[in-house]
């Protein structure tokens, strides 16, 4: 069973796109071969990449497809032949089957005699299939940004293709993609190797041969080498460690073929600049790792990952070059930092009148006024529910929140908006609570980030975003399909997370009602947020879709409560009694719906005397008291256990009582009993939504 190797040689692929493309190339190659029955059961697949290549290596290919015999049935004999001669129908069938009419057979079926044909589809060799089909798979790889480069624009790909190596067993598969015919030539490191092409001997020798050309093609090997080198180099500074940054390790892994790590220094004089600014310059602009001391404080060093082996001679040159660049960048940052301080934030509030937020929604000054109105409502509700909010800190933070948009430092480091405002506020002596709220207002920016650390920051973050979202909805600019130019979904996700995780005693309707009295918009907003809550429960809490649907049917306005219910339902899914109750609820709902029973209308007052009806009603009431008690302290698992104990009464009811009594009055009474049972549990979840396996 031969091995297979494909290497696509490209001009530097953007680092951010490599990992997914590498995985996709492997997935597509395997899927193609599986589809074509060319993979043995014990095949293995591996893939590699560097900035200049994507590679997939498979073992366990089947060299040749077997021929496929296929029997097909055609028209009935009485239609196929007239007076012993084949009709047009017989000829058409023969043509379709690729045989002569004389080669057709007759088969007998219970419906009569029919014409039949046997066709043999010749199996193709793996080499043939790969040459014909793999280029299409390569062409279909998703790239976040594509280009074309050949005259006539025949294809789009991430960057120009330089070479293709494609080897099956011992032979080249001469597939053609982007005007390149595959061979066995490959290239090593741009600088460290000779620069000349070398021949890949076999798929098995690929990695070792590349290593000989100063290319570590295995991403994990490179990542490991970088981490070890970072550790190693940092050990030369006493008590220091490099600041862990997984995303940055990932980036530099995808920027290098032969990585090494170099330690550089900067003057202590820059350390008084805010750490956030220094780290942003190093990480985002220079892709350097920051170094910290034993106390976690920034130390005047940095680590850069090079794409070349370092030696005594070049290390000094490269270090000096990097240090000079960093010095220039820090100088700029310091210039802006000092320059901006000349106008304190409080004096910048007025400048916001000239900064447009959105042309129909006015300036940032106008936005700030609106946000403050919302903040006041949310603050009032929070205090009324027994939580303490620092009113003055919230007010100061709100009015200063956007003033950093007028500073030079934010123009230079837009990713630090908010943080820079908070830093200036600190330097200008505002209260810590105010500064923290300003700094945290854009948190969380992504699922990986935390929510604001204080109630003040959380309220500000909610108010700012709901103002944006509602404003855009009122202008009819809500997201649709894949279009969300103002990132409103992300803003709503952040509000959902703050409501769920900040500890604020606020519910979704509090937030929506604080921003708009217009019912139509409020309804739209609620639907929009329910989508985001559904997404949040599934993505952040990894809850099953049916559980999410079930608990959301009982309302999701109170996020912590919704999460608790969903977790309880999830924990009960394996319980037999619970599943039986779920099935029962489903059955009851079916009965009610067939009887056109309106579950939203108030129930009639009906108390059965006793018997199965009375017992069920009694038990249901008893459970409801318990459930209400348990729900108050989020003890939903116990509540569900209590609900599950209703099973014997329900079973007896269905055994002994005929619901659809011909007497309409009695029928209505019995339906009411069932409706009472369903309604008494419906505050937790709609159990009929739970999918029961098997």
């Amino acid at each position: 069973m031969p091995d297979f190797l494909l290497e696509l040689g490209l001009e530097e692929i953007p680092a951010r796109m490599i990992a997914s493309a590498q995985a996709e190339l492997q997935r597509r190659t395997v899927a193609l071969l599986e589809r074509e029955h060319l993979l043995a059961d014990d095949y293995t697949a591996a893939s590699y990449s560097t900035p200049r290549r994507l590679t997939v290596h498979l073992t366990g290919l089947i060299s040749q497809q077997s021929d496929i015999r296929e029997d097909t049935t055609g028209p009935a004999i009485k239609i196929a032949f007239k007076d012993g001669f084949p009709t047009a129908a017989a000829e058409a069938f023969a043509r379709k089957s690729g045989v002569q009419v004389s080669e057709l057979r007759t088969v007998s079926t219970p419906k009569g005699d029919y014409l039949a044909a046997t066709t043999v589809k010749r199996g193709r060799s793996a080499a043939e299939v790969l040459a014909a089909e793999l280029p299409k798979e390569i062409a279909a790889i998703y790239w976040a940004k594509n280009m074309y480069w050949r005259a006539g624009k025949p294809e789009r790909f991430v960057r120009p293709v330089l070479w293709i190596a494609c080897i099956l067993g011992d032979s080249v598969v001469p597939l053609i993609f982007a005007g390149k015919t595959a061979g066995r030539a490959s290239y090593g490191h741009r600088v460290l190797s000779s620069g000349n092409a070398f021949e890949i001997v076999s798929p098995q020798s690929y990695l070792a041969q590349l290593e000989g050309e100063y290319v570590l093609a295995d991403v994990e090997v490179r990542r490991h080498k970088i981490r070890k080198a970072l550790d190693h180099v940092t050990r030369t500074i006493p008590n220091a460690r490099w600041r862990e940054d997984e995303a940055l390790v990932d980036t530099v892994t995808h920027l290098t073929e032969w990585p090494d790590v170099l330690l550089g220094n900067f003057e202590r004089a820059y350390l008084p600049l805010p750490e956030e600014v220094l780290v942003t310059v190093m990480r985002d602009h220079q892709k350097y790792f920051a170094v910290e001391d034993a106390m976690g404080k920034l130390a005047p060093h940095f680590l850069t990952v090079t794409n070349i082996a370092l030696n005594a001679e070049n290390a000094e040159v490269i270090r000096q070059g990097n240090e000079r660049v960093l010095r220039a960048r820090f100088n700029d940052a310091r210039f802006f930092w000092d320059f901006d301080q000349r106008v304190p934030l409080v004096k910048r509030v007025k400048l916001l009148e000239n900064v447009t937020f959105q042309k129909d929604l006015g300036s940032y000054a106008a936005k700030t006024e609106r946000v403050w109105e919302i903040c006041k409502v949310l603050e009032g509700l929070t205090q009324a529910r027994g939580f303490t909010v620092d009113f003055n800190a919230l007010k100061d933070a709100t009015f200063l929140a956007k003033t950093d948009l007028t500073t030079e430092l934010v123009k230079e480091f837009t990713e630090l908006q908010g943080v820079i405002g908070g830093l200036y506020a600190e330097a200008q002596g505002l209260s810590q609570k105010t500064c923290d709220a300003i700094k945290d207002q854009y948190l969380p920016m992504s699922a990986a980030e935390r929510v604001p650390r204080s109630y003040e920051g959380s309220i500000l973050g909610i108010a700012d975003r709901i103002d944006t979202i509602a404003g855009m909805f009122m202008l009819g600019m809500e997201p649709s399909g894949s279009k969300d130019p103002f990132a409103l979904r992300r803003a709503a996700n952040a509000i959902v997370r703050i409501l769920a995780e900040s500890g604020l005693p606020l519910r979704l309707p509090d937030v929506i009602n604080a921003v708009t009295p217009a019912l139509a918009i409020a309804e739209k907003l609620k639907a929009f947020f329910y989508d985001r809550i559904d997404f949040y429960l599934r993505e952040s809490h990894l809850l099953a879709y049916d559980v999410v649907k079930a608990v959301m049917a009982a309302g999701a306005d109170d996020l912590p409560d919704t999460i608790a219910r969903a977790q309880a339902v999830t924990s009960m899914r394996g319980d037999e009694q619970f599943l039986a109750v779920s099935a029962t609820v489903k059955r009851i709902k079916n009965i009610l719906s067939q009887a056109n029973f309106d579950l939203t209308a108030p129930l009639i007052d009906y108390t059965p005397a006793g018997g199965p009806e009375g017992n069920l009603m009694h038990k249901s009431a008893e459970i409801q008291v318990k459930v209400n008690e348990l729900s108050k302290r989020y003890a939903y698992r116990e509540a569900l256990e209590a609900i599950s104990t209703i099973r014997p009464e329900v079973d007896t009811f269905f055994e002994k009582v005929m619901v659809m009594d011909p007497d309409l009055n009695i029928r209505k009474q019995r339906l009411t009993v069932l409706a009472t049972v369903v309604c008494s549990f419906s505050n937790i979840a709609d159990f009929s939504e739970i999918v029961i396996a098997g």
């Binding site: 594509n146 741009r190 290098t256 000096q320 660049v325």
Partner: protein, 330 residues
């Protein structure tokens, strides 16, 4: 650092120009209308349109009024110098060719860390964008490398490869200096006397920063902008009127010989003049911006006006090229 005798600023320019001339480039002189980048010179912006292959290189002084620092910041300039290379279409292994040019200016690649990091270029005002890299040398961005994809809102075929060297940064790097103003611009071979970048250009930086930030008269700038814009718009309209009249005339002509004068009139239409007016608008806008005279709200509107001009010129340039190729007139 990069060798014993690093190139002076002017030697750097000579060397790169010679390198690209030896690789088939036409050497053009810097464009003599204010531009913010070498891309805006018609030798790039207009020549990348249409099917005609071209390889061209030129130094381009690039003015960015808002970047002026009165000569006080060692790393920022009102006017910096780009060396712009356009390769249409780009040859195979164009990156290797570029790396050879670095070797030519004395950079020993084994002694440095060089990376091609994704950086896509976009000039919304010109309806132009491309994909490519910033070339990082020991952590310093020294070159912008772009494969043009669209210009004036039109797909390009063939595409062009654009290599933009930041000459001050490279000289600073070669000479291992913290300040642009210390760069050795020239060295007299007879006396060994050196002139620095500061001696040659500091006064320009001081005076043009002062002009851009303090002296430029805002009402006059607005007036200039309007005048340039009006004239450019008029030219654009005249072009399309000319096309209409020529096409009408051509329908009446029957013999090919009669078409030559028409072709002549089309060839002589001053598209390049219209483009200069659009460039004037762009520079005037930058001055207004440096003066802080453009609010964020106005900004979008003025940029849209200039975009109409620039893209409009690209459109007529492409159309003019199409109509003046013989097959289009027959």
């Amino acid at each position: 650092m990069a060798g014993k005798n690093p190139l002076t600023f002017q030697e750097l320019l000579f060397t790169l120009q010679r390198f690209w001339a030896e690789h088939g480039c036409v050497l053009q002189q810097p464009y003599d209308v204010e531009v913010g980048a070498g891309t805006m010179s018609p030798d790039t912006f207009l020549r990348v349109l249409g099917p005609k292959p071209i390889s061209i290189a030129y130094a381009q002084p690039s003015r960015r009024p808002a970047d002026g620092r009165y000569g006080e910041n060692p790393n920022r300039l009102y006017r910096h110098t780009q060396l712009q290379v356009i390769l249409k279409p780009p040859p195979e292994r164009v990156q290797e060719l570029y790396l050879e040019s670095l070797i030519a200016i004395g950079i020993d690649l084994a002694q440095h860390d060089i990376k091609f990091e994704e950086d896509n270029w976009e000039w919304p005002v010109g309806g132009a964008w491309g994909v490519g890299w910033q070339v990082m040398l020991d952590g310093q961005e020294i070159t912008q490398f772009t494969y043009f994809q669209q210009c004036g809102g039109m797909d390009l075929d063939p595409i062009s490869g654009e290599i933009t060297y930041g000459l001050e940064r490279i000289a600073q790097f070669l000479q291992d200096l913290d300040s642009i103003y210390e760069i050795v611009w020239s060295r007299d071979p007879a006396t060994g006397r050196e002139l620095t970048y500061g001696q040659v250009r500091l006064h320009e930086e001081q005076q043009f920063s002062a002009y851009s930030f303090d002296y430029a008269d805002v009402p006059s700038l607005w007036k200039h902008l309007e005048l340039y814009e009006d004239e450019c718009k008029t030219l654009l309209m005249k072009f399309w009127a000319l096309v209409d009249s020529l096409l009408t005339e051509r329908e009446r002509e029957t013999s090919f010989a009669e078409c030559a004068p028409l072709q002549e009139r089309m060839l002589r239409f001053p598209t390049l003049g219209a483009y200069e007016l659009a460039l004037k608008c762009s520079h005037t806008f930058n001055l207004l911006d440096a003066r802080g005279a453009i609010s964020v709200t106005e900004r979008v509107g003025v940029m849209a006006r200039i975009r109409n001009l620039v893209v409009g010129v690209a459109k007529i340039y492409a159309e003019q090229g199409r109509l003046t190729t013989p097959s289009a007139l027959i």
